[in-house]
Amino acid sequence: MHFHLNPHTILPLLCMTLAIVCGIFVILQNPRAKLNRLFFAICITFTAWFSFYIPFNFNYTDQILLTWFRASYCFISFIPITCFTFITTYRQIPRNEFWFKINSLLGLTLSLLSLTTDLIIKNLSYFPFYPYPHAGTLHPLLVLHCIYLAFFSIIIMIKALKDLSLPEKQRNHIKYMLSAIICLTFGAIDFIGNYTSTFYEIGYIPASGYLIITTIAIIKHQLMDIQVIIRKGLIYSTLITFITLIFLVLVITIEKFSQNFIGYHQDLLNSAILSLIIALIFIPLKNRIQLCIDKIFLKASPIEIAQQNELLRQEVIQTEKFKAVATLASGMAHEIKNPLTVIKTFSEYLPQKLDDKAFLKKFAPMISQEVNRIDNLVHELLDFAKPAVPILKPTNIHNLINSTLELLSNECIKYNIKIHRDYRLSGDVLLPLDYNQIKQSLLNIFLNAIEAMKTGGQLNVSTYARVDKKDVHIKIQDTGTGISPEDLPHVFDPFFTKKDSGTGLGLSITHEIISNHKGKIFVESALRKGTTFILELPSA
């Protein structure tokens, strides 16, 4: 067995590596998800397909080559049904079991036939670049199977795209998948090689495009990236096609040249010259193609696309703001309507129960309680809507933290909470802060921490600075119940609360105050382990 690098196989073998990497990457993300497992199966079949090109680098006998191709076809026969199942699973379309079984059976039959008989592939055709299996009598059946399942997949996705009731995000996902399937369908051009002896196989390029787009669609759920992804996919596919063509022409020319003039075959020299030429033309060619694709497909220059993306991003932020207002309104409704109910009932019964001492004794305090509740709510809302502009004065941050913690010492003793301070900044650390506002922010975070540790725990408060010392960080860590991953993105939303009491405004006010100080606030949490808040405050 002698290794002899065939330059025509470099790209398909790179694509094979890509298929393996994509498959492993996706399965590792979530090994239990059906979609990820199906994609992994697809990647395996693609790996088998691209492995076609491995033996071209060895001087195998025709017999071994044909066996290798048969083994590959064994997997290739399953590509149509695996890809189709992936699409139906993705769209959550109930499976027609009978139809599914028929198609799986067809895949299995084609697979077994290719392995054991000459019906799917038989003897080799010799292309100028490498040998390729010739189509057998039943080969058209495999092609038809691919085409009709691809057809149905595309129909499913187009139908989904026409369904305007789907949320924008999902529609974008469908666009991903549709472009991926169309890409894959082009991969079927490899079958042409089974029928003629002059076709250069490049089906692995669109097929790799399919893999990349699908991988991104599974891993990422971003709204705006669709254009960018498709654009990049197009650029690189076109680029690879170009390079392959140049490669082909160069290989043939240089081979002819070296045979005619130098007189012998010199692989290493050929490869070196080729690599040099490709390295020289790669970047200019890429830029050219990028410009063309931007003009043709997106009808805009990169700057215009960036501007469009920025607009989209702002729209998303706006939508998020509207959602916050909606939460605010429904929270308001509940918070105000409950006290109103009590007051209304009382006023309704008051005239007839003026002499009922028990009634008056019970309800009079309740009314003042409920009125106070509305009053507090209005104050908090005003704080939230328009927190007073911070009056910044140099403030010793450690003194501020200590005096805030002092307010809570009774609570901490009551719930058996130990406080651990770790101030890594030495000396007096003076920051431009509004003393009362930051105290309120810290208090809100501490109160939440205590709320989460009613069965005891530890509250760690540390201060430190980054290397560039621009910001001072305050880290507040509790060992409490933690926040669930679903709730975590909402902790700063107004009226979001999971507590029995409380308005859900505390942390949103904290967020507002820190933002007004041009600082940042982050939260991370793990259920049953605890929550950490990190405040970053500018030091000047």
Binding site: K337, T341, F346, Q369
Partner: protein
Amino acid sequence: MSNKILICDDEENIRESIKLILGDFYDLFLVNSGEQALYTLENNKDIKVALLDIKMPKVNGLDVLTQIKSKFPQVKIIMVTGYRCVETAAEAARLGASGYIVKPFKSEEILETVKKNLS
């Protein structure tokens, strides 16, 4: 013997207000969570009507409604809520609620809805 009614609301003052309205006419059971509501229904099979708040901290009223309807289908349920929202009302009706009262309510609203559900 007067009919038995269950009141489930996480706020004491609301429970007291409903008690003020219904207390003279019915035998009331006041509870503050869905869990307690189910427990009380289990032990008092003759409760005929339950008033449920929708927004409660642990299990929300619509979930409690589903659980009660599956375990005690004979109990008529009236939802009491601060949301004047068609979708929530429709959802409650779909889940089997027989009434929907929006806070702040009038005493007659409560009295009439309960009366209607007892007949």
